[in-house]
């Protein structure tokens, strides 16, 4: 049977077909189900397992519709006399899925032809990215076709990873963590990247089954600090930001066009924000230029760690000079602001007073505005305070409710992503250091690459008795695991995802396989998780043949009202609806309007710390190419020039020309960047988009083990970070590390696109003033 | 009447000249200036004076070649362009006179020169079998006078040659 049908990818695109005879299995499942439904099975439990409990909409009690398992069998009978259209030679068909290149969760459409995935495009249906995609998204193809993927399970034998069969691999897991195993409660942990949707649900239930609560979620690039501030001041973690409504955006290092929250969504807003009439103005204050900064009307090289001070200074001028009504603010806040008059502020931040005043004028004139704070502002010991200070401005300028909206409630709390940041990395390092775990499973995270040297991650990992890596590639962490389980690429797998930052409409994004798995040896994450749960705690999920069946059940269990099919609360599994959702790639789930519960407090922004030995700040800025390093193995992104420096295939150090002059460094010289925690060397690229006190070494390169395109290229600035963290949230202070610079005397030709750095008087990028534009295209 | 050829070799050109002068003065029977061929190691434009103008058709070949090159070039180019499957434009006309002029010019010269050398080969009676009366000394430094006439007029010619100190005298069939 497999032979006859194996040719068609129809099989695996529509569903994962089990090989044994369908009818038997169908009826078998049927009977099984009878058995199950006989023994009183707690529906609440079930709904929880389906990730849909605690739904705002009431769900009438009913039995689990019993035919689904058999339904599965029926739909697969596809006549091969009339092949599916995606089997017709020369006909390309688009299928919707989700982009997993970063946690933003944009919808994509993949072009399938002759069973091959050829191109990814944004899904126009998606309210998040409206058909658009960033370069990382485009490179998702290469992530799928990467020549260095792990194709079979590997187990450590005598210190080496050797191929094993899935049976052996699973038995290993069974021994270490299975129901029969002797692993005590709380000695097990998951270490993952952002996981959401039903995979998240299964992961939770696996953890419960393991009797553990240790789920470390690590994202080097995150916005935990901003979220915490929002939570504390607005009562909502992810209020909806409306750049398009703002007339002025003041961003403290928030690279919302590149890596911050949901870049493509914000890019769409940015386009509207920039379009006439009343075109918006963008002011970016950050120590080193990001993609967003590179598009700013006014760019301020603010001294690191003083963003908060700058915000307060602006508030001060607003109140003192521009007489903005500050009655809403409590006394304590006003006192805090009082200290920061123009001169003080410009002394602290190193920004000329007149420019501060100009900004304030603009802020006053152009309302509503939107003030956000991102990586470089939050990545300090006072990051939380700086972000709070920025948020304070939103209060002062009355942007809350105008450009910062509460948005709707998301109806399925369990499906929301388990979100993390760098705090979990530190926590994990600590816990692992204290030998708290007998077994740790890794998925979608690479702690060994991301962890600074001071964490001694390598030793700590080695100390863990059993490490299983659910991984698509052989990266640093995977290479140290005892067991490597090759997971399917996002283009081969089923799943549901819930973006942390929802677009204009809340939605569950559906991920479906765009083509047959490239390698027979890989398995979908969902299937693996399902298996793990079954293995550890047989029972509730046993009757699900595979993750696909589980998903369909879960889908059926979603209340009809939310599926937009009117009153029919207790809907059986509706294949057409299911297909429609797969076509759209997402299911929009309306939710109740949320509301702010505001609480303003005085941020305590300590200034920047003088440090004679290490005069400079190291800024390991994320760039939209390699992200946190997970894309360094994609040759397209290696070859795509960095947006700011146009350098390819390497690491570099961005230095301000004046600093370079002081050090006697010229472009192309290799500089030694020494921090307390170690030192790295990189080729210097000089430009004025860097504060003189800062040296930028973008993160993402410097992999020791990550396939042919990434291994041994560049350096990893994260390695030499100081053990600093934000006082309030515990997030690592990525931008707080102090370094000193030295020439090595050696130099290396920068491999970069573009020779001349300026236009030499040509009319290539012509620029006109905003007034000019208003004259010609303003409202008339 | 049997025709007969006789060749006399002379040490230098002046002697040869004087022979011809004599032939013209004393009117040897049966020998006219047109029967005389001078074979010399170098070019002597001045013999025209004695032998009289003799025709040379090379320039006509040249003219023909040039005209052919001109017409053929012009037609060939514009025909090729006109029947070009993909007609490359770049904002320019299909048949571009200005640029074609260059090529026509080249073709004119090419065919003119080919025709010229053709005319040379034909007009100079080249690629003939070597005549029995040729002597390698001619290519060295001696001047030969070859006269074609009837058997019985040969004698006086030989006398004349010897009179002018011919270094060597040969006879042969035509």
């Amino acid at each position: 049977m497999k032979q006859t049908m194996g040719h068609s990818i129809a099989w695996n695109v529509i569903s994962r077909i089990p090989s044994e005879d369908l009818k038997d299995r169908a009826s078998g499942a049927h009977n099984e189900w009878r058995e199950m439904s006989k023994k009183k099975f707690d529906r609440r439990e079930f709904l929880k397992a389906m990730g849909v409990s605690g739904v705002a909409v009431t769900v009438a009690g009913c039995d689990m519709p019993s035919f689904i398992a058999s339904q599965e069998g029926v739909e697969e009978v596809v006549s091969y006399l009339s092949p599916e259209e995606f089997v017709i030679p020369g006909v390309g068909v688009w299928y919707a899925s989700v982009c997993m290149q970063c946690p933003a969760g944009c919808g994509v459409r993949g072009r399938i032809r002759e069973g091959r995935l050829l191109k990814l495009e944004g899904n126009p249906e998606s309210s998040l990215n409206a058909g658009k995609l960033c370069q990382m998204g485009q490179a998702g193809l290469q992530n799928h076709y990467d020549p260095d993927r792990v194709t079979t399970p590997l187990a450590r034998k005598g210190g080496k990873l050797a191929e094993v069969t899935w049976e052996q691999a699973l038995t290993m897991i069974e021994e270490k963590t299975g129901a029969g195993s002797s692993i005590p409660k709380n000695r097990f942990a998951w270490f993952t990247g952002t996981v959401s949707g039903h995979q998240g649900v299964l992961m939770k239930s696996h953890l419960e089954a393991m009797g553990s609560t240790a789920h470390f979620v690590h994202e080097t690039i995150n916005n935990q600090v901003w979220r915490t501030v929002s939570k504390d001041m607005l009562g909502l973690e992810t209020p909806r930001l409306r750049f398009d409504k703002a007339k002025l955006v003041l961003s403290f290092g928030a690279d919302f066009l590149g890596t911050w929250m949901s870049p493509i969504h914000f890019s769409g807003q940015y386009a509207r924000f920039r379009s006439t009439p009343d075109r918006g103005m963008l002011i970016q204050a950050e120590p080193s230029m990001t993609l967003t900064g590179a598009n700013a009307d006014m760019w301020l090289a603010v001294r690191p760690e003083t963003e908060g001070a700058m915000a307060l200074g602006i508030a001060n001028i607003l109140i003192k000079k521009e007489k903005v009504d500050a009655s809403a603010l409590p006394e304590s806040v006003l006192d805090a602001i009082d200290g920061y008059d123009v001169t003080t502020t410009s002394r602290i931040t190193g920004i000329a007073g007149d420019r501060l005043i100009r900004i304030v004028r603009h802020l006053k004139d152009l309302s509503p505005s939107l003030i956000v704070a991102g990586a470089s502002a939050c990545g300090h010991v006072n990051g939380y305070q700086s972000a709070a200070a920025a948020m304070l401005l939103n209060f002062l300028l009355g942007n809350i409710g105008k450009t910062i909206e509460p948005g709707e409630n998301f109806s399925f709390p369990q499906l929301r992503p388990a979100e993390g940041g760098t705090r979990d990395l530190a926590r994990f390092a600590k816990a692992a250091g204290e030998q708290q775990f007998d077994a740790v499973f890794f998925y979608g995270a690479n702690p060994l690459f991301a962890a600074p040297a001071h964490m001694n991650m390598a030793e700590k990992l080695d100390a863990i008795p059993f490490k299983a890596a659910f991984s698509q590639f052989m990266d640093e962490t995977t290479a140290r695991a005892d067991l490597v389980l090759p997971v399917a690429s996002p283009m081969e797998d089923w799943g549901t995802h819930v973006p942390a930052y929802q677009g204009d409409r809340n939605a569950i994004v559906f991920q479906q396989p765009l083509m047959e798995p490239l390698y027979p040896g890989v398995r979908g994450l969902g299937d693996l998780l399902l298996g793990l749960v079954k293995m550890r705690n047989p029972g509730p999920l046993d009757d699900f043949e595979d993750y696909y069946a589980y998903l369909q059940n879960a889908f059926a269990a979603i209340p009809g009202a939310l599926k937009g099919e009117g009153g029919d609360e207790d809907a059986p599994f509706d294949k057409n609806l299911w297909n429609r959702v797969l076509q759209n790639g997402h299911l929009e789930v309306p939710g109740a309007k949320r509301s702010f519960d505001t609480k303003v407090f005085a941020p305590d922004v300590a200034g920047h710390r003088e440090n004679a030995d290490y005069p400079y700040y190291l800024a390991p800025t994320p760039r939209a190419g390699f992200y946190d390093g997970r894309h360094a193995n994609l040759s397209w992104l290696q070859e795509a020039p960095d947006q700011i420096t146009k350098i390819v295939w390497n690491s570099w150090a961005e230095i301000n020309p004046s600093t370079a002059a002081k050090l006697g460094v010229e472009q192309g010289d290799i500089v030694k960047i020494t921090a307390a925690g170690g030192s790295i060397e990189a080729t210097a690229y000089l430009h004025k988009g860097v504060h003189p006190d800062v040296v930028v070494v973008p993160m993402g390169q410097g992999h020791e083990e990550y396939g042919r395109y990434a291994t041994g290229i560049g350096v990893n600035p994260l390695k030499i970070l100081d053990p600093l963290s934000d006082g309030k949230t515990g997030e690592m202070a990525l931008y707080g590390t102090r370094v000193k610079l030295a020439r090595t005397g050696r130099s290396k030709k920068l491999v970069k696109a573009g020779d001349a750095e300026t236009q030499h008087g040509r009319k290539i990028v012509a620029t006109i003033t905003a007034d000019h534009l208003r004259r010609t295209e303003g409202e008339s | 009447m049997k025709k007969q050829r006789i060749l006399g070799l002379f040490s230098d050109f002046d002697k040869a000249i004087s022979v011809i002068v004599d032939i013209r003065q004393y009117r040897l029977p049966g020998v006219s200036v047109d029967d005389i061929t001078i074979k010399s190691p170098i070019e002597h434009p001045e013999i025209e004076e004695i032998l009289g103008e003799r025709p040379c058709y090379v320039p006509w070949f040249t003219l023909a070649g040039a005209l052919f090159g001109l017409v053929f070039g012009a037609f060939f180019l514009s025909a090729a362009q006109a029947n070009f499957l993909v007609q490359p434009q770049g904002g320019k006309p299909v048949i571009t006179t200005m640029t074609n002029l260059v090529l026509i010019y080249e073709m004119l010269i090419l065919f003119a020169m080919l025709a010229t050398s053709l005319g040379f080969l034909i007009g100079g009676r080249f690629m003939r079998r070597r005549s029995s009366l040729y002597d390698t000394k001619i290519s060295l430094d001696q001047v030969g006078i070859e006269i074609e006439t009837d058997n019985d007029y040969i004698e006086p010619v030989r006398k004349l040659f010897t009179k002018h100190m011919a270094l060597e005298i040969r006879e042969g069939k035509p």
Binding site: G754, I764 | T37, H44, V102, S117, L121, R125, T136
Partner: protein, 475 residues
Amino acid sequence: MMAEKTAQAAKDIDETIAWARINADVLRSMENPRKGYWVALAVCFAIFMVGVAAEVYQYDVGMGPSNLNNPHMWDLYISTFIFWIGMSHSGTLLSAILHIFHVDWRKPIYRFAEAMTTFSLLTALLFPVIHLGRVWNMHWVFPYLSDRGIWPNFRSPLVWDAFAIATYLTGSVLFLYTGMIPDLAICRDNATGWRKKLYTFLSVGWWGDDRQWRNFRKTYMIMACFLIPLAVSVHSIVAADFAMAIMPGWHVTSFPVYFVSGALYSGCAGIITLFVLLRYFFKFEQYMTIPILEKLCKLTFAIAMVWTYLNLIEFAAVWYGHDVPAKEVLIAKFTGPYSPFFISMLLIGMVLPFSLAFQKVRRNPPLLLAISLLLNTGMWMERYMILAPTLSLSFHPYTWGVMWPSFVEIGIVFGSFGLFGLFFFAFVKVFPSVSMYEVKEMVYHRRRVVFDEAEEKLHPATAPATASASSEDGT
């Protein structure tokens, strides 16, 4: 004594020289090569092989190893192409011009000069081929009927090149060959064995009778007339490759003239080089005499001045034309990374020729050898400087970039000199490198002139009588 010596030296050729001697000397130069000859041949072959190896590698891998890159799509290949085309110029062109004006001192030296033309042309032909990304499709440049209904693009200066060079090659070969036929006859009469066969075939039955001489004279003159405009057009068309492009520094009206003068310049220098070498190796002192060498030097000097002038007005045109990119290129030539080449090129090309103004220099063959070699290096650099700076910066700043040729590229260029050497060495042993019959003519006419003068001096009154008297002598 001294005066007499100079008088002797002032003569282009000693007209008392016996004709047999001429034959003997020249024919000697063609037979039994000495060891030195074989060594030279071997060296040339080795050099050529270097080029071949490099080209084979490049053919196999692609154009990459030559270091060519996005702005620098052409580099040494094309500049060396222009160089060889330039070399090919003076030979035929000068010989033709001098022939038209009946300048008889051309006669001893034009043969090898024309050979130089032909062979440098053949060498030059390699480069457009080598620089093609897909050499194996080079024939698509030629117009032939194909059922695909596709033709070359007659608008492209590269196609003009193909036409012009083909014509020029045919023309100069015909000119060289036609002028050689009488000499080939001489060879035929003195040769044995395979040479006999060869020369018999090549001399197409030259018996030296008046009819042949008559046609020969006309033909040769006509060809000379055609070759002059042809040669000029060829190099103008090569110049068009650049002048027709819109690139700054190339889009210059004076380019064709500039190229032609440059070609003559390098060509003359080339002739001087070979002159000195042949004179030394084949002991041609009698024929390639110092006075002729001096005349050559003067000619070279004159052409050098023309070239200098055109160079300067080109600068002026660019400067006052005030086309920004062109100006940038000009400035970069003086200050940029290529400035060492450019400035030394200017020194060699503009200043060095003044040394030829000194008689001492003009009469010193070894020194002239050195100078002429230098001049040619300069001219080669000139060609390189026409390409590289413009390519390295043109309109679009983003794609500027300096590029230095790789060993593969240099190797191929190097090899081309070997090839030229091979051709030339083969030639001098198979064909007479001095035109015997024309030297004879030269001697003949000069002697005649001298004798007439002498008789004038002796008895001017009885001048007319002498003719008849001499005719009486015989009886």
